[in-house]
Symmetry: C2
Subunit: 316 residues, 2 copies
């Protein structure tokens, strides 16, 4: 058993059982990959992949049993290397953070500024993506830390740690009728609505609130980020619903806009930090998390990483 064999197996699963792709991804020849897999299967005495003729199509039952350990081994190997990098590289290194637009635009800047001040030798990479893309970036190792409004923890390979709670706000141009008197879901639904794309930044909780109230507002525009929403609210296209944090900061760009607190209308949302389960990150990665959410100390995050996936049940 060797790591190249394990990498071949993992990559084969990730790339949909296409060994030609796997070879490209691992910078080796296709027959090489074929051999690695065959040799591991021979050594273990089981077929990991289902073969239809000469084509791989899926995992066999032994393959399903073996795969989690393959991934664990490769993950641990990376952790071992990271553990030693802590000594070879000292305080220098690369930290890769993946976040949704909202987080990158409004929540992260403070943490990034503080972190760069305290860790000038760490090269900070910021990747933006949808929650699904962020999960993928974490699992494939492209990113070390993921930040998004919950959801992320879907994959058993990830751990999500709640950071802070936030609510939505309503945005309207100055002089808008909604600014007079208390805002209700019913009143909002009278106007065209501009908000986030499905699955982004609490869009689910917005939809849920309207649905529970039996309302069906006209969504005239959905966007991936608050700036786009604000731009079109500014053009009188409709009423904006966005994360209140997106209004707290940034008053210059759209001076004509007014925010209305809407925490009583929509469910509270939670922003979470996600990391790979079972892995080890560089020391400064844990420090970044703590900079972002002070209660998430390195020890807390490490403990969460090492906790098993199935012990999700809350204590009594």
């Amino acid at each position: 058993m060797n790591f190249q064999q394990l990498r071949s197996v993992r990559e084969a699963v990730r790339r949909g059982f296409n060994l030609t792709e796997v070879a490209a991804a691992l910078h080796t020849s296709q027959p090489g990959v074929s051999r690695q897999i065959r040799e591991l299967e021979d050594e273990l005495g089981v077929e990991i992949f289902v073969r239809v003729g000469k084509r791989l199509t899926g995992l066999t039952p032994p393959g399903v049993a073996v795969l989690p350990w393959v991934e664990k081994l490769l993950l641990d190997a990376e952790s071992l290397q990271r553990a030693s990098e802590e000594f070879t590289q000292g305080s220098t290194g690369v930290l890769s953070v993946a976040a949704t637009h909202s987080q990158a635009r409004y929540a992260l800047p403070h943490a990034v500024r503080d972190f760069r001040a305290t860790h000038p030798h760490v090269q900070l990479q910021l990747h933006q993506g949808s929650p699904e893309q962020i999960s993928q970036m974490l699992l494939t190792g492209v990113a070390d830390i993921g930040i998004a409004s919950h959801v992320l923890a879907e994959s058993p390979g990830l751990v999500a740690l709640p950071c802070y709670r936030w609510t939505h706000a309503i945005v309207v141009p100055e002089g808008h009728a909604l600014l007079d008197g208390p805002v209700t879901l019913e009143r909002i639904a009278d106007y065209p609505v501009i908000t986030y794309d499905t699955g982004l930044t609490g869009r689910n909780s917005i939809d849920g609130a309207f649905a529970r109230a039996g309302l069906n507002p006209e969504i005239v525009l959905t966007a991936m980020d608050a700036d786009v929403i604000k731009t079109y609210v500014d053009l009188d296209l409709g009423v904006g619903i966005l994360a209140s944090i997106a209004m707290d900061e940034d008053h210059q760009s759209h001076p004509r806009l007014r925010a209305i607190d809407a925490r009583h209308l929509f469910p509270i949302n939670t922003t979470s930090v996600a990391v790979r389960r079972g892995g080890l990150l560089r020391g400064f990665a844990y420090e970044f998390v703590q900079t972002f959410a002070s209660h998430l100390t390195p020890d807390v995050v490490k403990a969460a990483q090492q906790a098993p996936a199935d012990t999700q049940q809350a204590p009594l």
Copy 2:
């Protein structure tokens, strides 16, 4: 990085940094081991071992950081192999159980009998040893399951699961004065005492009970097992204190002896099953545990194995 390098490192630590011994244990040459270690250090860019001249004497700080991952990797590799053995070997295989004398003699026979009936193709190995030896056997992989009166969980590499509680009994020859009236620690201390060796089968709780009562009984003989104790009680050498289970069974061998319940005199003891943390056992190993202690289902044991070592705090 390859597994032979990792094995060399692990073995070097286990064998007190003597590479000659390591070479013998791994069935290879000493320069080979030296090279494996050197190459891993080169690849990681850190020195794992402290070298005094040409001799290895201990772990460097990077070595301390890296070692847990080395052990985890090797453990996971074994788990991967076991996962596939489940398919290659079906219901056959070898199950190695390590237990103290008391457990092997009195608690295990039922479980062994039932297990052999349900798993006729599993070769059952029973190793006897002190709690420390049992821990070692588990950690080195000689045994898969350890059974002893608590203590075992000292090592972070092991998980102990409580099975059942038991108490001590007093053994005296028929007609002994202690058989008349209630037994107290004071009355026992009037006689010479025969009991277990230090550290074995609840000896600690016996000592503790006498110490708390301010008594200092004369221990005239200590033994590793109940049979020896009974033999010498039968010879009128003194009063025996042993696990009550050792008297419940087996009435033939010493028909002259009488047992007196002593659960009110000494603290309750707990027998635990211990397994390697983070590892995977063959399916029948989990079934054996369940046969021994029906509440320890395979899922319960697996969950305990995967739980992190530092989350020992009880839920609120």
